[in-house]
């Protein structure tokens, strides 16, 4: 049985984190956050009381908790048809830039950035692309920078790659070591992994394509609006924005700034 916390517990946690660590969890999606906290408690085998005690008495504990609360489930070529749409509708326009700059916001362990690099390589664009992949979690970024993907996931990843319209032998892109696949250096060399918190950090560069897929779902509507604002400011004129297949711009104040490139695959483009 998963650890369960009540809505009152959650409110108490939000207040405590705000007062002790000046971090606002109040704008995270409550239902998901509740599940994450419950999961963390049962994984560590600690009570809600113990969690509060650690938060109050150990300053180093909060960053660890924040990492544990973020969802790091990802796969290569998740939603293969999204990648097909990118190749058909976005790459031809990206190809007109001398240097292509792409941001994966909330990249977790890097699988989507690796997928993007593979697609760019097969389109002959990788050598003039710079992929910035950022996440809140240092641990995930370390794994991503090392190019490590669990070997058991490679069967699904390969099937996704084929559905996405990949044209090569997928196994050429990694080598298997014990329980891990290591993504080849050739694919990784144009990717820059660094830490960035979408909630508290700012614009750091300008991109022609920003991918922020299945990150917004963990925020409530006001915070979604802020984050979409940050992503919008990070886009070059006529830049592209891709969000998760079941995420929506419609509920944000930035909706009118975008034209829809592919409604089903949630690809948008800044209006001129």
């Amino acid at each position: 049985m998963m650890g369960e916390i009540s809505d009152d517990d959650l409110r108490e946690l939000v207040t405590l984190v705000k007062s002790q660590h000046n971090y606002d969890l109040g704008n995270y999606a409550a239902a998901s956050l509740k599940r994450r906290v419950g999961r963390y408690l049962s994984q560590c085998g600690i009570s809600f009381f113990e969690l509060k005690y650690r938060l109050t008495n150990n300053q180093d504990f909060f960053p660890e908790l924040l990492e544990a609360l973020s969802v790091n489930v990802t796969e290569m070529f998740r939603d293969p048809f999204f990648y097909r749409a990118l190749k058909e509708k976005v790459f031809p326009i990206l190809a007109t830039y001398p240097v292509i700059k792409i941001w994966h916001a909330g990249c977790s362990s890097g699988e989507e950035a690796f997928s993007m690099a593979i697609m760019l390589k097969e389109a002959g664009l990788l050598h003039r692309s710079r992929i910035y992949a950022t996440d809140i979690s240092r641990e995930m970024l370390e794994r991503a920078a090392a190019g490590i993907v669990p070997l058991h996931a490679m069967k699904d990843n390969t099937a996704n790659y084929i559905s996405a319209g990949g044209t090569e032998d997928f196994s050429e892109y990694y080598s298997a070591r014990y329980d891990y696949a290591i993504i080849s250096q050739e694919i990784r060399k144009q990717i820059i992994f660094s830490q960035h918190n979408l909630v508290t950090d700012y614009v750091f560069n300008e991109f022609q394509l920003v991918c922020c897929r299945n990150v917004l779902i963990y925020f409530n509507r006001p915070l979604q609006d802020n984050v979409i604002g940050l992503l919008t400011q990070s886009l070059a004129p006529l830049g592209f924005l891709a969000i998760g297949l079941k995420e929506s711009l419609q509920f944000t104040s930035h909706y009118a700034k975008y034209a829809t490139v592919d409604a089903q695959n949630k690809i948008f483009r800044l209006r001129g």
Binding site: S6, A29, L245
Partner: protein
């Protein structure tokens, strides 16, 4: 807290592939004026093209919601592939890509548990034919929060593991054949509406 929402009655239904005939019959039977909100969670493959909502409900009333969509009375929602579907007490749908539960995403337990804690006595949980134990814990949560639990009679189910596990583990469930489940859902909606106008 459950008083904050415009959602008066919430029906959450879980099953795997074997539940499709029951769901098809259900959506063909629910009248246009049916007023409860219905959420369906079925185990389904990911990363494939799918028109499952059309297949289960050809008249177009069943839809895959976007994250943060606000549920409507009489609205029918299907958990999208590769997401868990949660509900907030204010009636908002919250999608989640966290780890699989019982090898499943969407997981029936995740939806049932969140419905139970958000809407308590307003929830009816329905567990249909299914091939693993996903949903049993969630149905238990629905019962302990004062909701109603209907389970398909394993003798009528294509795969009896899921309803069988619920019957074995839980007290306070009603066991019905598929057509009885459909009748019970329609009847309780009519009773609710009659009770409201009196």
């Amino acid at each position: 807290m459950s008083g904050q929402s415009h959602i008066r009655n919430l029906v959450v239904i879980g099953g795997s592939m074997g539940s499709f005939p029951v769901l098809l019959a259900l959506f063909a039977s629910l009248p246009q004026e049916y007023s409860a909100t219905v959420i369906v969670v079925v185990h389904r493959p990911k990363n494939v093209k799918s028109q499952l909502e059309q297949m289960l409900c050809p008249d177009g009333r069943l839809k895959e919601p976007d994250d943060k969509e606000i549920m409507q009375p009489g609205g029918f929602y299907l958990a999208p592939q590769n997401y868990h579907l949660l509900v907030e007490p204010d009636g908002t749908i919250a999608l989640d890509t966290a780890e699989t539960i019982n090898y499943s995403r969407p997981s029936i337990d995740a939806t049932f548990l969140s419905a139970a804690t958000a809407f308590g006595t307003r929830v009816t949980g329905v567990l249909l034919s299914g091939a693993n134990k996903d949903g049993v814990e969630g149905l238990g949560a629905i019962i302990s929060h004062g909701g109603r639990a209907l389970v398909q009679d394993p003798a009528t189910a294509m795969s009896a593991i899921m309803p069988g596990a619920a019957i074995e583990k839980l007290d306070g469930i009603e066991v019905y054949a598929p057509e009885e489940i459909i009748t019970a859902l329609i009847k309780s909606d009519i009773e609710y509406k009659n009770g409201k106008t009196e």
